[in-house]
Symmetry: C2
Subunit: 218 residues, 2 copies
DNA sequence: TAATCAATCTAGTGGTTATTAGATTGTTAT
DNA sequence: ATAACAATCTAATAACCACTAGATTGATTA
């Protein structure tokens, strides 16, 4: 009869491990981060994660098996989206813990970080305050669809691909804070590098919308 | 040169997946939950998770490899403890998401839940208010060492093993809210079952200290 | 109806992981 | 010293997982 308690416990932890397993594969993590930006087709996900559609499909199957994503057919395509905001939250918590604990990761992140700009605040409240007053421009450099799905308050959208052609839309007298999908996305870094080279005052915001929402909910 | 960005990204997600892998094994999850209760020796961990010391050692090695735990030798024994409060936080977030998404898990948890008591509140604030005023007794039924490591505010300690002999210490005119390690621990359920059979008014608190702290930090 | 496209399913392969047993290290007590 | 003990290390096996290629499904377009 004591054995029975053991059996119940094994079942419980096994179920939780089903969720953990989803977060144990690099490619699946990348897919989750992409899905944090909004719903996407398998094709888009595969392309943006640099994998074959077959492999993407297999990974998404795992995500669906754990009920972390939902699907919807639209015409020829099948759209995937996160089944729960808490999935994005968990992704943020995991990568934050990884950044805090793994020196290797900290060093890799160093490489893709731009030098900070002393005129641009890196705490959320003052940045928001300045954005509200128009003292800084918050720039979303992700693809337009992702901006449409969700974006930070007061953010303007110029996808990184169009940035070079649309520099004239940006002011030179105020700093420009660029953000993208999150700390592992290189688009914001590229944007800041370009803007600075073109004589703009610019800084990078490491957070994406998922990270921002987690931080805002405390 | 475009390939280079891909290489960097692969490295980043791989590092995060190192953390995810730790949370992908049921036994490792159980060890993490045990470590949420305070520092413990390998022997204790192995015994409480119902595995051999060799296997426990192997799993703890993984935890250490991901820098999620620290060790310290004390005499013959080696003590393990969580390297960061955020590890406990991540455990709470993962099992909470699992409970929200997996019907199988919800059903298993149903089985180990006691009937609620309408005189005992299940929201944190009023429970604390009543505990402060002495209107309920908050009872920690975990082993004494775990109570000593940390416990909920206003909680009294009577380990589940000693409960039957120490029933006289508890009042019959006020409800007794028992808690243990968390929602996958059966000690609080056993305590409530015993207390009710002995004529006490009693209810179970599903949260352990880790869950309580995450909930308190919002 | 045929052709095309997006996505999945099936099967197979190489690599990784959980678990166990046996030998080994470091510490304490006799 | 020697014995006893806690814990780890090494090696081996079986189960599992990521990924690839080929065949298949379901929807759209010609």
């Amino acid at each position: 009869m004591m054995k029975n308690a053991r059996k119940i416990k094994d079942l419980l932890y096994e179920q939780v491990a089903r969720i953990g397993k989803v977060f144990s594969s690099p490619k699946r993590l990348e897919l989750i981060e992409l899905l944090c930006q909004g719903e996407k087709t398998v094709e888009t996900l595969a392309h943006e994660a640099s994998i074959s559609m077959k492999l993407a499909s297999a990974h998404l199957r795992e995500l669906r098996g754990a009920h972390l994503v939902e699907t919807e057919r639209r015409g020829k395509n099948i759209l995937y989206r996160l089944a729960d905001k808490a999935v994005a939250g968990l992704w943020v918590h995991i990568h934050t813990l990884a950044e805090n604990r793994l020196i290797e990761l900290q060093m890799e992140i160093q490489k893709i970080a731009t030098q900070p700009d002393e005129l641009v605040p890196n705490d959320r409240e003052t940045l928001m305050k300045m954005a509200r007053r128009g003292e800084v421009v918050v720039l979303d450099v992700r693809p337009a669809e992702e901006y449409l799905a969700t974006h930070l308050p007061f953010a303007r959208s110029i996808p990184i691909d169009e940035l070079r052609q649309r520099l004239a839309e940006l002011p030179k007298d105020r700093p420009i804070v660029a953000y993208c999908r999150g700390p592992y996305c290189l688009m914001a870094k590229d944007a800041v590098d370009l803007l600075r080279k073109e004589g703009f005052r610019s800084a990078q915001l490491r957070d994406g919308v998922a990270e921002w929402e987690v931080a805002a909910s405390r």
